[in-house]
């Protein structure tokens, strides 16, 4: 596949002696065209920096394109809420900002807990009290009030925490929409361009692609998700990055009725299923056990027993789902870190090098905020967003 996938993509320069001896120059070079890299490219262009983005496959096709599509602040660590709020403001503005509809629906996000885990209800209440300080308004619901508003919930559901200002969007559209918008603003985007080596000599970083092309810039941003580790290690830093594949499926369409995205709050991975209804009417379902990934082959295979386990759990959350047909299952390759928090911010050892990867299955909502924050950090050298929790250095002693 060598077709230019973005409509007006600059054609890849023919591999020639000239292009080899004269690598492409830009202010910022980005490796990885998921929603993080695409949004960063967009906001860097907004700040007037020249950007070249290298995507080994197609933009927004891996974790960014295959995730569930939650645009939720609820449930994130309190220290992450300023970043999530920044992202929310962008999500609300996406039609104007991107010139296309990414199917963002601000119709709420609801976490529920089961009767056999009453302690989860208590922790949801405590979270709601704390989150109010960060402009995250959560409404606690239980008993008849909960059932009157959400009669589809199963009898095991004890209580719920509703965030009316959260919502969901279409992951298949969002990442590529940021990339196209960045491109319209002048970013150079190379799809099917796999970076195989990144290094720094003098003031510049040089990145070599599998086809021999070279790219150079004084600033390098690694947003390569599950493929980030090789570059990090190439610069002498350590990160215990792993990857897993989410367990996704979708039902046939039915009349639109359910506004919020709904998920189970539980310490048990098996139980942690969630769903949302898209405007077309289908229920998109995710959660429960995850799948093994094959990042080198860009493949992940959905395990049938994970699928069946998920459907069983879904019937606890919304019993009527039993009567719905499932028409498709899928997965993708998400990058994970042991503390479930990303690496985001400057390298600990190489100046001009920045990271934003390892979002551990929770990157979609914050993605536009990450892009804007990284652009701010790169362009101005500072940001008000507290990045201390995401420092690469926290893994320095991990071997």
């Amino acid at each position: 596949m060598t077709a230019p996938i973005l409509a007006s993509a600059t054609p890849a320069p023919a591999l020639s002696a000239q292009s080899l001896s004269a690598p492409s120059l830009s202010d910022v070079l980005i490796i990885g065209g998921g929603i993080m890299g695409s949004a960063a490219a967009f906001f860097l262009r907004q700040r007037g920096l020249s950007v070249t983005l290298l995507e080994s496959d197609l933009v927004g096709r891996q974790a960014s394109g295959t995730n569930f599509g939650n645009v939720r602040r609820q449930g994130r660590p309190l220290y992450q809420l300023p970043l999530a709020n920044r992202a929310m403001a962008i999500w609300r503005n996406t039609p104007a900002l991107l010139g296309t509809d990414v199917e963002y629906l601000q119709r709420g996000h609801m976490r529920v807990c089961y009767r056999d885990r009453p302690d989860t209800a208590a922790s949801m209440e405590a979270y709601a009290a704390d989150a109010a300080r960060f402009d995250l308004d959560l409404e606690m619901l239980s008993g008849n009030a909960l059932r009157a508003r959400f009669p589809f919930l199963g009898p095991e559901v004890l209580a719920a925490s509703l965030s009316a200002q959260d919502g969901h969007a279409n992951p298949r559209l969002a990442g590529p929409a940021f990339a196209r918008a960045a491109q319209r603003r002048g970013a150079i985007i190379h799809e099917n361009c796999r970076a195989i080596h990144a290094g720094k000599s003098g003031d510049d970083f040089t990145v070599t692609a599998a086809d021999g092309r070279e790219f150079r810039a004084p600033t390098l941003l690694i947003t390569a998700g599950a493929w980030a580790k090789q570059f990090v290690e190439g610069f002498g830093e350590t990160v215990p990055l792993t990857s897993r594949g989410p367990n996704m499926c979708v039902t046939e369409p039915l009349p639109y009725a359910i506004g919020p995205s709904v998920g189970v709050a539980t310490p048990e991975t098996l139980e942690s299923v969630y769903f949302r209804q898209v405007a077309r009417g289908n229920l998109v379902i995710g959660g429960s056990l995850q799948n093994q990934t094959f990042p080198d082959a860009y493949r992940v295979y959905v395990k049938p027993d994970n699928t069946l386990g998920q459907w069983q759990q879904m019937q606890r959350l919304i019993p009527a789902v039993a009567r719905l047909n499932i028409i498709r299952t899928w997965s993708g390759i998400e990058s994970y870190l042991p503390d479930s928090q990303p690496v985001m911010g400057p390298s600990g050892s190489v100046s001009g090098l920045f990271y934003a990867f390892g979002f551990s299955g929770a990157g979609f909502q914050v993605g536009p905020g990450v892009g804007e924050t990284m652009a701010e950090l790169i362009a101005t050298g500072r940001t008000d967003i507290d990045l201390s929790h995401y420092a690469i250095g926290r893994f320095a002693d991990v071997r």
Partner: protein
């Protein structure tokens, strides 16, 4: 050595002959089939209590049908037969089934895929209307239920099935309004030498045409379908299509769904004739199709390699002459691998079973293999003649009006698909699907995927093989979430 576990998927001509070969070798294969009884689509048996003869049901193929039914019935006790069971996934050396007793996973040492075919469909403006059926569906209505799809039926498309089903409708006493073939008659002449590889089948085709003509049914060659016309707007809205009560519709952002698709039932079909004129045929049902396409999703889930076959403009699973797929232990036979017809399927089914036996270390007579390979080769030659005589009308995809629906499940028009190609640069099938929803509905692109690829190729001005093929995803057909049972149960 323990007896190897051999799973055959499909109990049509290929599956039955594969099962027979294995049973004869002393192995008890597991035969999994979606159907209620063996026979596949071509030799589908009528429901209990129906009393039509084999001659009535299967015409010139009556004796083959009888032989196949008798063969499989005679294997009772020697095969582990699981009817009404869907294989919805293949993973890690196991097939995952959903049958009358729920879900099961079955490990295999060898897997013989005899998954058959469905219609290859080229969209026509108005083909979403109630009363539009595929040729295969129209034939099943007659064969299984003794029903016609309408009181006045037009047959539209091309290929041998067009004439076969039309003739079957005529013989059954249904009113056939017209047979409209997109292939020019002249295309048959250069194909004749290849078609003569199967003189009996060729002669059968001549007889079918005679049956249709004697009933006074007009047969037009070289037509270009223009429009399937319909009745009042909003009458008989198909399930899902044209209805969107979601927020997008309320916000007025959904242009193509709410209200703008005329969903009235079929009232007729307009075509441009070979001489450039226009003709309209009134009817209340249309049977359409352009030959068949293999059902290859299970081969894809089994991770078999595919290659583009320019003769039929389809991506087909790669196999060796005996049916070995690229994945060790997986074998492909019958129309599910390549459209070669029922007779060929019997040979390729047996051949695939013998290949599996050979690979598992059982003795197989080389004389038998050689003769089966020769048989299959003549069907390959005949099929290439059919492809030449009844070509897939790719120009129709390029000429499809912007307001014609391509993906009926998701109600996506040719114009929307073309806009996706133009606006986003998506030229690859899965990418265009992700952005446009074409192929994202209940059928997962099984019915629109080939035509959508042609629309994309024409819009992007690239060869159709560059568009690629839709990746298959489980479940192969929709199954209910409730089928998994309840947690902890």
């Amino acid at each position: 050595m323990a007896e190897p576990a051999i799973v055959i998927i499909g109990a049509g001509p290929a599956g039955v002959r594969a099962a027979q070969a294995l049973a004869d070798a002393g192995i008890r294969p597991i035969v999994i089939d979606e159907g209620r009884r063996s026979g596949g689509q071509i030799y589908r048996r009528q429901p209990d209590g129906f009393t039509r003869s084999h001659a009535t049901l299967y015409g010139t193929e009556a004796e083959r049908a009888r032989a196949l039914h008798t063969c499989f019935d005679g294997l009772e006790g020697r095969v582990d037969y699981r009817p009404e069971t869907l294989v919805w996934h293949i993973s890690d050396g196991q097939v995952w089934t959903l049958g009358p007793d729920g879900h099961q996973s079955i490990p295999y040492d060898a897997l013989i895929l005899c998954t058959g075919a469905t219609d290859r469909l080229m969209p026509v403006r108005g083909w979403h209307r109630a009363g539009t059926y595929s040729l295969g569906g129209s034939q099943i209505a007659l064969k299984a239920q003794a029903c016609a799809i309408g009181s006045q039926v037009v047959f539209l498309g091309s290929g041998p099935l067009l004439y076969l089903v039309a003739a079957q409708y005529v013989k059954a006493g249904a009113h056939v309004a017209a047979v409209l073939d997109t292939a020019p008659f002249a295309a048959r002449i250069p194909a004749l030498p290849k078609l003569l590889a199967q003189p009996a089948a060729l002669w059968n085709g001549v007889l079918l045409t005679r049956t249709i003509k004697r009933a006074g049914v007009p047969i037009l060659h070289g037509v270009t379908p223009l429009d399937i016309t319909g009745g009042e707007e909003g009458s008989g809205a198909p399930d899902g299509a044209g209805v969107d009560t979601g927020p997008a519709a309320r916000d007025g952002r959904s242009s193509s769904r709410a209200g703008t698709v005329d969903t009235g039932a079929v009232s007729g079909v307009t075509v441009r004739t070979a001489d450039g004129g226009e003709r309209h045929f009134a009817c209340d049902a249309i049977a359409m199709g352009h030959h068949l396409r293999p059902e290859t999703q299970l081969a894809d889930l089994a991770r078999c390699a595919f290659a583009f076959d320019p003769a039929v403009r389809q991506w087909l699973p790669v196999r060796d002459p005996d049916g070995r797929a690229s994945v060790p232990g997986v074998y492909l036979a019958g129309d599910g691998a390549r459209i070669l017809g029922a007779r060929s399927a019997e040979a390729s089914g047996r051949l695939a079973a013998l290949a599996a036996l050979t690979d598992l270390g059982f003795p197989v007579a080389s004389v038998d293999l050689a003769s089966l390979r020769r048989d299959v080769a003549t069907y390959v030659r005949f099929a290439s003649g059919l492809a030449q005589a009844f070509p897939w009308p790719v120009e129709q995809a390029a000429a499809l009006p912007d307001d014609a629906i391509v993906c009926r499940c998701e109600s996506i028009t040719a114009g929307e698909l073309r806009a996706t190609v133009t606006d986003t640069g998506a030229q690859e099938a899965n990418r265009a699907k992700a952005f446009s929803r074409v192929g994202m509905g209940r059928c997962q692109g099984r019915y629109c995927g080939l035509a959508a690829a042609e629309v994309i190729a024409a819009a992007a001005a690239i060869p159709v093989e560059r568009v690629g093929r839709l990746r298959s995803a489980a479940p192969v057909k929709p199954i209910s979430a409730g089928s998994a049972g309840k947690a902890g149960a």
